[in-house]
Symmetry: C2
Amino acid sequence: MSPIGNYTGRQSINPDRATKMAEHSLSDDEFEKQEAELTEALLDAQYELRKSIKGPVLVLISGNDAAGKAELLYRFYDWLDNRFLVTRAFALPEGVEQRMPHLWRYWISLPGPDKLGFYLGSWYHQPQMCRVRGDISAEAFEQQMEEIRRFEQLLVNEGVALLKLWLEVEPGEGSSSAPEVPTDVAMREWGDFSQADREQLERVTRRMMTLTSTPEAPWIRVPSADPNYRDIEVGRLVLEQIRALRNKTERRSPPPPLAPAPRSVLQQIDYGLRLGKEEYGEQLARYQQELRALIRRPDFAGRSLLLVFEGTDAAGKGGAIRRITRCLDPRYLRVHGTRAPTEEEAHQPYLLRFWRRVPTPGRVAIFDRSYYGRVLVERVEKLTPVDRWQQAYAEINDFEAQLQAAGTIVVKFWLAISEQEQLKRFQARERSPLKRYKLTDEDWRNRERWSDYEQALDDMVAHTSTAAAPWHIVPAENKRYARVEVLRLLCQRLREAL
Amino acid sequence: MSPIGNYTGRQSINPDRATKMAEHSLSDDEFEKQEAELTEALLDAQYELRKSIKGPVLVLISGNDAAGKAELLYRFYDWLDNRFLVTRAFALPEGVEQRMPHLWRYWISLPGPDKLGFYLGSWYHQPQMCRVRGDISAEAFEQQMEEIRRFEQLLVNEGVALLKLWLEVEPGEGSSSAPEVPTDVAMREWGDFSQADREQLERVTRRMMTLTSTPEAPWIRVPSADPNYRDIEVGRLVLEQIRALRNKTERRSPPPPLAPAPRSVLQQIDYGLRLGKEEYGEQLARYQQELRALIRRPDFAGRSLLLVFEGTDAAGKGGAIRRITRCLDPRYLRVHGTRAPTEEEAHQPYLLRFWRRVPTPGRVAIFDRSYYGRVLVERVEKLTPVDRWQQAYAEINDFEAQLQAAGTIVVKFWLAISEQEQLKRFQARERSPLKRYKLTDEDWRNRERWSDYEQALDDMVAHTSTAAAPWHIVPAENKRYARVEVLRLLCQRLREAL
């Protein structure tokens, strides 16, 4: 359990501060004294954060209208190095945001790992407001809270620190000084609230806190009637949060119990499946024509397509992809080769770079290798701790489910060749001036780990082949067969989905 | 002059290809033979490009409606590794694009240095269309062509390769096979053209080519009636362009003649200017109040503010910036600390990361150090060749002028302290636990280059202090004076501009 709060959503009590907190106010003199110490400690901590780039630290500032959220923010801009502060404010989704998964806009705007990010109107704002207004049912609200809970769990597991603050003033109380800026976007939208609305808001807020207060990311209520008390208290919480990050990587949760899947996927493959040249030509033309027609259907304009290609090295992913891209409008298509993360990417949650590449409505994204690297190469090469890649199965399922709920069609292919065929292709590549560059030392090393990859594949298929996004295992010993089979399966999935 | 074209805008003639080109067509057999060789060479070249990350290569595809631009694009998606291809298409500007400089959307979407980017509807499309429709005057058109010419020059100087193709079919000719996709965005908008419009288009196009064909980035007409001929020809041009990139860095243009400015800026400074504590409090409050009021004026919503802070190390930039941020709404503010470019940024045009950070309407961006690093640290530390930092004065003036034309208010401060004062502050920092981290070995080294920096400052002020964006040199020996002076000048500039 985090030292800075408990997960029942009640105000955090720290014994040695209990007396002070009973009062919830600070004289100006006391404030100035504490401010000097606190600022020094905060600047030091901020400097540590920048050096270690183990972040970011996200501070969600919610609360009553008169609680002084803007004032509080100014205080931090005064105290800290502004170059490493960012403020995010989200109103209701607009334009393309409305047609993407709820969490998309929060994902793609995640601050870099050396930053302290303040959120006015965070991912809680929209569901909260919609629920108060009755635009969504209680079930939908609970469902969104569950999505958020898992989103935050993933962020915390990936090294992001979350501080969720509810600034509280009792009715009739109120911050003494008038705020220097208009209240934040979120609050402006609450403007014309009736008393009944306000009571409903209080109920929704309590429910929200109950559902989303976890040991790793508890909600903390901060009595905010006195700005001096409020600012020092929040400053302390931020300080503790940054310091906690430093000792973070040592704590590893035990991996969830996960039985290895039986070896089966590759053993059930019929490597003998072939297609003659003539048959190939005919069927290729037929499915390409169908694919073109499907993608141009008016109902595709509101949908999008995410294609994932994984497979044995040298299985012919590139060739299969080209047979598809030929049918698509290059302006609405992106093919993403997934390489080892850059240094910057390595310091960020692994799904971030894929969230940034998901297709918007009417578009197609093809991943030539993908986020499944987490449970393949990162597992086999031990680049990621056991608990993290094991948790990734559920995280990836969540990711794909969110995309699908927003209208994306997710189609996943594994192209499989036998060990002997791979050897033949590697040797051919060594001889070919045109293909030599495709072969690296890493390819030979991966080959030595054949059995490890086989287990990783079996587990991956067992855990991530969902009803809405099943894995298609395609024998690719014969390239012609594989290319046509990929196109055939793709057309079939699109036909069903549209 | 580039080997692949001349700058009069006429079709490129290469003696050994002249015979073939006279015909401008290829039989299917001949095509297949040449295609095999060409593809191999292109894949190799693409691989080289990826390894060397000396790019990107941008291919602008313009031309008549029936010239088969989409078909050509498909061919390249077939031939090359799709993971390193991107296609950009720009229609008329929408939303915030309309309120930003013309070139902003092209800047911020520039492909990475390992990419081959195809542009359907490039930066030429909008001015061309507006001119044909009579929405802009001939003068405005020429002005935009000049902006483009300098934009392309900068890109080429920074290592980007540009291939500008005009696919041409004579009236009555036309690509034999029907295109598989709708014609591109650009062309769709030309739809309801009268004969008079078409003649005007031809005139505008000729003028466009004359104005923007330069030795480094000539327009090349490609006879496109025969798709076989067209695709092989374009493939060859792309190949030559990629190969030319490889040998690029060796050629350096001689630096423009540039007399060093007389030593003056720092010598004219009155380091004795001071402000008492009480006066400081009064004036600070007064200007902060004025700044808040100015930024909240409704007419600021359509403008934006770019603040540049440069100055001697330890001159107190951070403190001055905090006195400003205190008055601004954090949601519409970003403070950007400029550090050495990341590896990825170092392979891209230096202005790119600043273009990506310019404020959109209603917003404020503060650069704590900035693109002026090009003519300061990069010059003094010899990180950039002489010709490139000398050209940067004009490039930076262009950059700021484009921002200003779109409504951005650009305000630039140099905070100056004496050598003795700097030494005192460095020593104080060494003693202070709170400020120790602010002092690095680099700071001491910069101090040894005091005189070099002084010359760089004098030259910078001489070349980039423009009427619309003058440098404000602020004595900062007394922090109180400097902070108030910065605020006073900022308010004054805003008052004049709004």
